[in-house]
Symmetry: C2
Subunit: 109 residues, 2 copies
DNA sequence: TATATTCATTGCAATATTACGATGAATAAA
DNA sequence: TTTATTCATCGTAATATTGCAATGAATATA
C-alpha cells in the first residue's frame, strides 16, 4: 500500500486518524451501536444481528478491543462484550476537539 | 480486499463510516487542521507544511473535496482551498450523534 | 513565443484491509 | 469420555489504499 509516514505527523494527528480508522467500517459502527443499545452482547448475537460470518465479526471485535473501546468478560462458554466507558470518554474528547474546531472566521471562497 | 457489504448496513452507519474513513489518515487530519488554522491555503503551501509529495497531497485534497468537506477557488495560477462550513457542520452533527451515545447504564463487566 | 509556475491526472509498486473457510482451544452437557 | 457449543486464530483470495515519478493542462511572466 505504500507505508503511511506516521513519523511526520503529531501524536494527536496520528491518534485521531487511528480512532477514525476503526470507525471507518460500517460493521464496527453497527457493533458499537448494538453494544450501546443492548449494553452487553455475546459474539453469536452480533453474528446474527449484523449478518456477517463469525470469523469476520470476531476480527472486528478484536480491532475494537485492541484500541480499548470495548472489553470482554468470560461468561460460561461465551464472552460478554461491552463498551469500555473510560476509554470511550477519552476517545470522544479527542475526536470532539478535532470536529469542533473554530468555524467562525470568514471563508476565502 | 474483499468487498465491504454496505447493503446490509443502514444509510446512517455507512455515512458515519464514510466520514470516519476520510479522517482515518493523519495527512488528511493535518490538512484539515491547517485549513482551519490558516483559514485558506494553496496546494503548494500544504506540500511544504505537511512534507509529502505534491501528487500525494493533491490526492488527499481530492478525497476531501469529493466528500464535500473542503472546496477550492481558482486564484490566478493557484487554487485556494478552504473548509466548506455548511457541509462540515452537517458532518459534525452526524459524527457527534454517534460519539455521544448514552453511556450512563451499568456495564456488564 | 518561450519558459516558469502551479496543480491535476495517470500509472505503478508496495502494502493494508475485508471476508470467509478451516481449524484450534476451552468449557458445558450427555 | 464423547459430543456440542462458542469464540479465537490462521491462511488465503479479492480488493482498496498510500505514495511517488512522470506527464498533462492552464495561466503568468520574460
Amino acid at each position: 500500500m505504500g507505508i503511511t509516514k506516521t513519523e511526520i505527523f503529531t501524536d494527536q494527528q496520528n491518534q485521531i486518524a487511528t480512532f477514525a480508522k476503526v470507525f471507518g467500517h460500517p460493521a464496527r459502527v453497527a457493533i458499537l451501536q448494538h453494544l450501546f443499545k443492548i449494553n452487553a452482547c455475546i459474539c453469536g448475537d452480533l453474528v446474527e444481528e449484523i449478518g456477517l460470518a463469525q470469523p469476520t465479526i470476531s476480527q472486528h471485535l478484536k480491532e475494537l478491543k485492541t484500541l480499548g473501546l470495548i472489553k470482554g468478560a468470560i461468561e460460561g462458554t461465551s464472552i460478554c462484550y461491552c463498551i469500555d466507558k473510560d476509554n470511550w470518554t477519552k476517545m470522544k474528547s479527542v475526536m470532539m476537539q478535532f470536529l469542533d474546531q473554530d468555524i467562525s472566521k470568514e471563508s476565502c471562497c
